[in-house]
């Protein structure tokens, strides 16, 4: 399952980078995040609630940030498991500044197991795309906080 796309935020790249590195912002902006506890070294313990079509569940796991090159590149890794199965997702974010705005190019890949795979596999691509859009919209709202 692969997703990719771009999103443009009306703020300079440095400002967007700071937002992306703020655990409180991440907790608020990431759809379904119920808890996000910093464990140090850009690793967070997370509890995420997620519905993929008829497959709804709560996943416990961790979110980590890797391959950071400020303020232009980072990798977000989400690993979690719950009753409906497990998810291991990795997403790459590239930030580019254009006329005072920031274009984020993202691409991600996920391995899924269990009910999410067997029942949710047709829907998960769409869900991931929608979640990415929600995430960036929430980030945009954070700019005006």
């Amino acid at each position: 399952m692969k997703v990719e796309g771009t999103y443009t935020l009306p703020a300079p790249r440095q400002r967007v980078w700071e937002l992306l590195n703020d655990p409180a912002v991440l907790a608020r902006a990431t759809p379904g995040v119920k808890e996000l506890q910093p464990q140090g070294n850009d690793v967070f313990k997370a509890i995420i609630e997620l519905g993929i079509g008829p497959v709804k569940g709560t996943y416990a796991g961790q979110v980590s940030i890797a391959d950071k090159v400020a303020p232009q590149h980072m990798r977000l890794i989400v690993e979690g498991g719950g009753k409906p199965g497990t998810i291991k997702a990795s997403g790459e974010l590239r930030l580019e500044e254009q006329d005072g705005r920031t274009v984020i190019a993202y691409s991600g890949d996920a391995q899924i197991t269990g009910l999410i795979a067997s029942v949710g596999h047709r829907l998960i691509g769409g869900v991931a795309k929608q979640m990415a859009a929600e995430f960036f919209k929430a980030l945009e709202r954070e700019l005006t906080r």
Partner: protein, 785 residues
Amino acid sequence: MVISRALGARIKRREDPRLITGTATYVDDVVPPGLLHVAIVRSPHAHARIAAIDVKKASAAAGVVAIWTGEDVAARCGPLPIGPRIRDMKVPKRYPLVIDGVVRHVGDPVAAVVATDLAAARDAADLVEVTYEPLAAVTEVEAAMRPDALVIHPELQTNVCFRVTYGGSVDEAFATADATVSLRLIQQRLVPTAMETRGVVAQFKGGELTLWTSTQIPHVVKTTVAETVRLPEHQMRVIAPEVGGGFGSKLDVYGEEALLAALAIALGRPVKWVETRRENFMATTHGRGQVVYVDAAATRDGTITGLRVRVLADIGAYSQLLSAAVPTNTGLMSCGSYRIPHAFAEVIGVFTNCTPTGAYRGAGRPEATFLIERAVDAVARALTLDPAEIRRRNFIPPEAFPFKTPTGATYDSGNYEPALDQALQMAGYKTLRDEQRRLWAQGRYLGIGISSYVEITGLGAAAALPGGSWESATVRVEPTGKVTVLTGSSPHGQGEETTFAQIVSDRLGVSVDDVVVIHGDTRAVPYGVGTFGSRNTAVGGSAVFIASDRVREKAVRIAAHLLEAPPDDVVSDGARFHVRGSPQRAVEFKDVARTAYKGAKLPPGTEPGLEVTHFFAPPDRVFPFGTHVCVVEVDSQTGEVMIRRYVAVDDCGTILNPLLVAGQVHGGIAQGLAQALFEEAVYDESGQLLTAGLPDYAVPKAAQLPPFELGHTVTPSPHNPLGAKGVGEAGTIGATPAVVNAVLDALAPFGVSHLDMPLTSRKIWEAIRAGGGQRGNRSASRPSP
């Protein structure tokens, strides 16, 4: 000789009233007092190392009585035995009931949770925390055979489980051929989807273990599970109550059967586990799963001179009872109905990180029929010959039987051309070909597909099962003249309560209604083999036949004594015996029965009672055959296939009951057609089963099936007294290639010569758009010298 119309009569199945009124007893209807419920925690990974299992939370949950992981199970039972071994077969040393180290397919069991009710067991199962270290997975046979492929069972150092060959050199046939064809065919994995999933209830009481299980082989389960849980066999009883379908998927001894037995013994309370539909998709054996390469050589007139077959069979993660035996049938039967002088077949079994494969309706013979029937059509196309004509030209002639094929099967009897002729006549073949040409001109795509099959029934699988190829029956005449039949064969929908009663009625002259047939309870019936490979009638029925005849011989001796006549002068007519030439000097069958038990009036030296047990062992397997014709129309705009006609002419030897034969053929065709058009178990590259339930796995509905037009020829088998062959799988075996050949015939104007099953409208639409076949079909025709 008794003259009776019971054999061959259209008698309705006596099983049906209880089935359609919901009064039948299935495993899930068995509720012993104090019953506990079991839920099984299964691996969501196709391949992973179990780093840790934490059962603390689950153990503390309400209602939980016990939780067993792999280690707990290993401490209490031995591993399950591995299926029959083929020479040089490589299999892991142990096959645990519950995995304690590495899981090798999605659905592998890792823990069992026992609780006071089902909901508590399932909820607690969700609380078992298993930490997996995922490993890479391999899901396709050809990938698993590459030298650099990951090895699923490291101790074997290879994923190749076995390799067997049939036949001899074909090089000369190919070197001198006028035309050759080569095909690569995918036999997609199928999920048997019996309406009743598997289920087990185990109760240990008074030193005896009773196991109710939804199985095709209760006796084999008894012997095997007793050994696995280390219980003396005489303290174990297995009951297969009503079994709601199996299609081969219950022709296995499963880990859950031994697990439940061990739990019942350890906990001292009865336990029940009934598979959910999702579990059934992941944890019950799948069918088919082969990649097949076939090359055929022919002379210009269409005579097939050589056949080369390579079958790569997907065993799945473990070799279960019949995982290896099933694909060997494909090699053995690869020549089909044809006299092919030179043939060579090799069958290679390969481990993958998928659910183990096993028997599924046809078990290796549908795959064989598919490869030869596709190849014969490809030869016909290469030489521009009519598909009916090329079959006729290559059929084994009736005078050649018994016929030994170059791959080593000995066909008992056959007369293939009349079945083909009857099918063509019923379909109106010549008219259909004219109509096809007319419709093509109008842009409508009619296709006619022919499949002439021969298959193996009366199967012994002698090496596979304790005992062998026989079946047992006791025919007991009660003192009032009513008859109880105890059969060793245990049905899962075959209707033997009806047909076996017909046999007894025919042999003893009693009414069918005066016969009851008991099966499936190892405490009640003699040791038996089971129901598979369409063997019930030919083998189990013959045991009933011979036991009945021996009962009649004794009854005649008693009647003669009562009538004061020599036994040779006593004639049985219906339910009485009389002295030849003096119909008034007669005695009723029921009076003979009473005399047998009273003893006083028995002929001197005669043992009391009127009961015979017979174990019937046929000399060899038998080979039913037939021709199916399918007529389709393909919508070139949508790729949709509409089946316009379906004609099946089957020769299953003697027909005991035409209604039951029709029922078997209907169901068989439905499943064969389902493989051709709809069904496929799909794994993604990481080994996730994407079709793990009925919303994603396309079992056809009645409205998607055509009306079936059935015909029969009758060529009795010399190998059993009934002359019966078997018809439980014939429909499935004949149907798949008939449908695929029909669709490819319809697509011929687009240059499409090959498509892999299932033939979904999307695949067909894409092939039409591409204006040619998929890769995989390479055919060459030599120019005339």
